[in-house]
Amino acid sequence: MSNESQMAALPLAKTGLPAGTRSQRLSLDKLVIFIVLIALFGYFSMTASNFFTVRNVLTLALQTSTITMMGIGVTFTIITGGIDLSIGSVVALSGTVAVMAANVGCPIWLSMVIGLGSGVLSGLLNGMLITGLKLPPFIATLGMMMVLRGVVLTITNAMSKPAPDAFGHLGNDTLFKVSRQFPGIAYPVFIMILLALALGFFLRKTRMGRYTYAVGSNEEASRLSGIKVNRVKLAAYMISGFCAALTGIILASRMVTSQPNGGVAYEMNAIAASVIGGTSLMGGVGTVGGAVIGSFIIGVLGVGLTMQGASYFVQQIVIGIVVIASVAVDQIRYKKKLGK
């Protein structure tokens, strides 16, 4: 069909139909949680004396990078209408595999790539269980969570092993170090930013990203539109596995040891971050930006409450309430929209 030529003859103004306004496209939800994040930041800056210091903000970013990267990854699976519960175990697996590789003499970069590979492979397995055997994602990844954890504990005998010193650079070195006052920005923070930008672009601007939403919004319509649904799902789980593996390697590097017991229950924080950021567990809705903001809300709460002297237990209560509240607010607004 001669769409191109027809379109060329049709200047935008002629039909008068607007594209969506910017506010329509940038959902209000994201704006709201961003304001919540800023408000929390302001609140803790005023109430906890050491909160708003360069050093603390840098530490906050470093600590939050873990949950952010995992949150971004799991967001992909949730948008397709699935979930990935195995990412906590992937964190342990990838770090352990990378450290083991380094310890048998692989160059550091190669051992890290091998670690990443183990995560991608785990994601591929998740995806194959879901697309091939048609298992519900919750079950498939729950099973994989246990299997992978068991594998890690078995191959390490549940013991942490130190890694070569060079393995620690990635997690502990910084860029732009000036002085004691400004210790520089840690590599993991840069990695987090790059990952968020890359995957945000991927999800928003590329075909595969669009298909991710389509599959989650209506799987059958997607299939009948010629979208290779299984491929999209495999990609989503592999991305999730990749993000978790990256997290695991960074954590292992920061400790300069393998952590076979690390990452337990991390998947829950990642899912919570994603949900706070507006991702719908029904599929079809969610953004990388939202996941990042959601992660930082959890991160700021954690650090801020700690500095105020609240116990870890109280933090759990607060974060739990935030998860519930963010979805509840969404539901109420959705009902209003329907005119109820």
Binding site: T15, L17, P18, Q24, M208, R210, N218, A221, S225
Partner: protein, 507 residues
């Protein structure tokens, strides 16, 4: 019988961005069947949702049995005796028929347990009154859609409603089931129930309707005794302009070139050795009753369902189709009859749906989607197909049924398909939109596209197609030249009779 049951006076209702109702009025007497008609977006559904307590009006009043009422929710309306049967089923698939009918008000035993026996007996009696042969203890999802719809009707009737609202009740029913429904409606009318009947199938109104009210664009246009108004006037008032014809003139003649050859398609129990040809520029109809295998045949060709044997050739070459993406790559498109379930990603935007099957065309550098190109493409179709939307990036969920159908059509036109299979393309959409879709098919055929149209509406088959395939229980009964056939002949074959000597049709 002249006492007034329900009066709607100057009711308005707005939603963000739309004034759905603008001071409309409507009245219903006891023992009356009152049709409410209008194009999509005329405000019929909104008014019904107000009457049934789902929405509350912004202004105006509703007088029910002489008293002004303000229903706060659907439960209040239903308790007051206003029942509604929605176009889309509101039933629980995993419960039994009886459990569905009595959901939320199950009969209890003395000990407070649910009295399953009484429930089943009551349900059986109710279904019996409707002449329905449905086992009340069977799980709902084991029934075909048409039977499920009858259960929905039974459920509404079981509440002793004085006002019964039916929103497109016949859209999923077969001819004989429609007759059953009409019998029930006559029966209810005789008992003094007031029925508001919403339908796009204007031809069926004559069997049951006493009065008719017409809405357009959220405004009240006219009310008339049905006997005193002609079909033409109704349509003119609905669309606000004169529609010369229901069908566009068929200008083109199909060529002799075989575009698609379907050979010996078999799907055990469903499709029995079906073969046919589709010529370039042809509109080929597929007729048959519900369950005859029409959609299944389309899905088989499209690779959406697996087949046991058989082959599909395009331009004389055998195609390897194992999935819809294979079919699409070979220029075949299928517009499903269930557009919400299978045609649209309703949470996504208009532009995203239009380009869904052809994203490479608006992508650069292998994979990056160009928003500008995508919006341009969307704009073209919004204009060409007259899709009514406030913006190109409107979420599809917020569009009306007819406009949603057009979005699906746009998706496949944008894909530049050579063979388009339309499955019930005009179901649930209004007269104006129907005409637009017919015109579109005609244009496509003129361009040399092969069009297959599956339809339950015989006038549409007769008005639009060049040839008709008639299916009965998965078997191809006849391939007829549309010009030389008749409604009766098609129905004969569809009912399973063969040849001209068959018994007269029974609908």
């Amino acid at each position: 019988m002249s006492d007034m049951l329900l009066q709607v006076m100057d009711v308005s209702k707005g939603f963000p961005g739309v004034q759905a109702l603008d001071k409309v009025s409507f009245e219903l007497k006891r023992g009356e069947v009152h049709a409410l008609v209008g194009e999509n977006g005329a405000g019929k559904s909104t008014l019904m949702k107000i009457l049934s307590g789902v929405h509350r009006p912004d202004a105006g009043s509703i007088i029910y049995k002489g008293q002004e009422v303000h229903f706060q929710n659907a439960r209040e309306a239903s308790a007051a005796g206003i029942g509604i049967i929605y176009q889309e089923l509101n039933l629980v698939p995993h419960l039994t028929v009886a459990q569905n009918i009595y959901i939320g008000r199950e009969p209890r035993t003395l000990l407070g347990y649910i009295d399953d026996r009484k429930m089943n007996v009551d349900a059986a009696e109710l279904l019996g009154r409707l002449n329905l042969d449905i086992d009340p203890a069977i799980r709902l999802n084991q029934l075909p859609i048409s039977k499920q719809q009858m259960v929905e009707i039974a459920k509404a009737l079981s509440r002793d409603s004085e006002v019964l609202i039916m929103d497109e009740p016949t859209s999923a029913l077969t001819e004989s089931e429609i007759e059953e429904l009409f019998k029930v409606i006559h029966d209810l009318r005789a008992r003094g129930v007031g029925i508001i009947y919403i339908s796009h199938r204007l031809d069926e109104l004559k069997h049951i309707v006493d009065r008719i009210t017409i809405f357009r664009d959220g405004r009240y246009i006219a009310t008339s005794d049905y006997a005193a108004i002609s079909m033409e006037e109704i349509i003119n008032k609905m669309v606000g302009r004169t529609l010369a014809n229901i069908f566009p003139a068929r200008a083109n003649v199909p060529t002799e070139t075989r575009l698609l050859e379907v050979r010996n398609i078999v799907r055990p129990g469903i499709l029995k050795d079906i073969s046919f040809d589709l010529f370039q520029g042809e509109i080929l109809g597929i007729a048959g009753l519900m369950g005859a295998g029409r959609s299944e045949l389309a899905r088989a060709i499209f690779g959406a369902d697996p087949i046991a044997s058989g082959q599909v050739l395009r331009d004389g070459k055998r195609l390897k189709i194992h999935s819809p993406s294979d079919a699409i790559a070979n220029g075949i498109a299928y517009l499903s009859e269930n557009r919400k379930e299978e045609g649209l990603a309703t949470k996504m935007r208009l532009n995203e749906n239009v380009t869904m099957a052809n994203l490479p065309a608006v992508s650069r550098h292998f994979t990056v989607i160009s928003r500008a190109q995508e919006l341009e493409a969307t704009r073209t179709f919004v204009r060409d197909l007259d899709i009514r939307t406030p913006s190109l990036e409107q979420t599809v969920n917020n569009l009306s049924g007819g406009n949603q159908q057009k979005v699906v059509v746009a998706k496949w036109l944008y894909r530049d398909s050579r063979i388009l299979i339309f499955d019930e393309p005009t179901r649930g959409i209004d007269v104006g939109a129907k005409f637009a879709i017919y015109e579109l098919m005609e244009q496509l055929a003129r361009r040399g596209v092969g069009v297959i149209m599956i339809s339950s509406e015989l006038p549409e088959i007769l008005g639009m197609t060049d040839r008709v395939l008639v299916l009965h229980e998965g078997r191809l009964m006849a391939t007829l030249r549309t010009r030389d056939t008749s409604q009766e002949e098609i129905l004969n074959f569809a009912a399973g009779f063969t040849g001209a000597a068959a018994a007269p049709c029974q609908g």
